[in-house]
Symmetry: C2
Subunit: 258 residues, 2 copies
């Protein structure tokens, strides 16, 4: 039975896409059959894996019921990624929130669309856009848990309350089993006072739900997408790569001991 | 006749709020009567200026027609900021896109609401959320020009095409005089190859519409919001402060020579 994890935070630029792409790639490398779903109109997860975002078979067509989720699946030729598959996004998703609003059960569309895929994969990750709109609510309704990347700065810390509130509402009304997979500290720089202050504050509040691995600020992570590769294929020895490998390993450890 | 400038880019975390807040503060310091409007549900511009985002008089009530824009205006006691005023945002804005969608002329609501204020101010800046939804379209419809902050990295560069396309559509259908105020390079680090490659690419494409000033990555800029102050009050001698002062000066120079 696959575990569905939404990677969400309405604050922009905190590392949602970088986390979704690289955790998915490492889960696949560690032998887990993994599906990454991109529901952000920016389709950054799609382009970070070198996939052209303009096809007729994306999550946009799946959400509008034109094709099944199975028909939108893209696989990869690289041997390291043979257990990774992707459902791409495209820019037309921008308007989808206004189209989906008219649907019956509009918050449950994604959940319904991927129901038949759950048993095929060990993990399904969903990369969310920087908002708390209908696309993100669909991801939270479809998910078993939420992985929350938090950049170690002040403004990203401010928004956590809003996100937790939205998760609580979705849990009460739409998806009672929704839980927090973990909070991941990103772009952490141990030399900066601000980084350490924010990290301490998050640990005080979230305690054992904070991933042990912290993601350091590492330029290799922002270079990799321009080559259409996850970090494990771009520079597997970099600090960014090692920290994401540790996150994937921690997810497996937490979920499979049960 | 005040100039209305939307600070927009659907890519998250590129420095929209940091730019809107600090450019507005320097315009005010340079003797220009300036209004900053926060239309992002995260209300980061509001909290960056130390204003509590939960009042009953915010842009949310203005957009729904419950109060006039004039009634939502907040001013500042600090002598450096006596020419700066703010219309705050609040989290309830998240749901506003679905409420506004039913209104007649839903893209022109903000334009209508601030019409009576245009003559009072020299500059009106609008801080947009990280999306191309109805709130950002309202800002683009109300604006004379768009200031586009671009982080010097690959993924932010990718999204520029979508933004330019949206600006073109708004210009054709809703606001024929909409122009680009300029593209501002943010979090620029001259030591990084990626930073320089992205900066060169943006200059090739936008030519003289790129601001001469580049905003360096500077930790003081991310510390200032936690003190509820613009950079000019937090650390006026920092590289971040000096570069934003130069941007404000360049805006004045470009707009007032006509
Ligand atoms: N640990 C890191 N070190 C250095 N750069 C990083 C790191 N993580 C992400 N980045 C870069 O920072 C930028 C923002 O990251 P990313 O796009 O993953 O965030 P996001 O939360 O998905 O953004 P959005 O809100 O737009 O979806 C990107 O240019 C990315 O390459
Ligand atoms: N030049 C800079 N140097 C260092 N940090 C910066 C700089 N500009 C912005 N920051 C920090 O980077 C983060 C993102 O910036 P900011 O919130 O202004 O971006 P944004 O585009 O408004 O984000 P959103 O898409 O969520 O609205 C914040 O924590 C901010 O303090
Ligand atoms: Mg993203
Ligand atoms: Mg912002």
């Amino acid at each position: 039975m696959g575990k569905v994890i939404a990677v969400a935070n309405q604050k922009g630029g905190v590392g949602k896409t970088t986390t979704a792409v690289n955790v998915a790639a490492y889960l696949a490398t560690f032998g887990k059959l993994t599906l990454l779903i991109d529901i952000d109109p920016q389709s950054n997860a799609t382009s970070s894996l070198g996939v052209e975002p303009n096809s007729e078979k994306t999550i946009y067509e799946v959400l509008l019921g034109k094709i099944s989720a199975k028909d939108a699946i893209v696989s990869f030729t690289d041997p390291y990624l043979n257990l990774l598959e992707l459902i791409p996004a495209k820019i037309e998703l921008v308007g989808s929130e206004y189209e989906l609003i008219e649907f019956q059960g509009r918050e449950r569309i994604l959940r319904g669309a991927i129901e038949s895929l759950r048993n095929k994969y060990d993990y399904i990750l969903i990369d969310c856009p920087p908002s708390l709109g209908l696309l993100t609510v669909n991801a939270l309704t479809a998910a078993d848990s939420v992985l929350i990347p938090v950049q170690c700065e002040y403004l990203p810390l401010e928004g956590l309350g809003q996100l937790l509130n939205t998760i609580k509402i979705v849990k009460e009304r739409l998806n009672p089993k929704l839980d927090i997979e973990g909070v991941l500290l990103t772009m952490y720089d141990s030399r900066l006072r601000l980084s350490n202050e924010v990290a301490d504050e998050i640990k005080r509040y979230f305690r054992d739900r904070v991933f042990e691995a912290k993601i350091p600020r590492n330029i290799k992570l922002s270079e990799a997408p321009s080559h259409g590769k996850p970090i494990l294929l771009y520079d597997a020895k970099s600090p960014g790569a090692i920290s994401y490998a540790m996150v994937a390993e921690e997810i497996i450890r937490r979920n499979e001991k049960i």
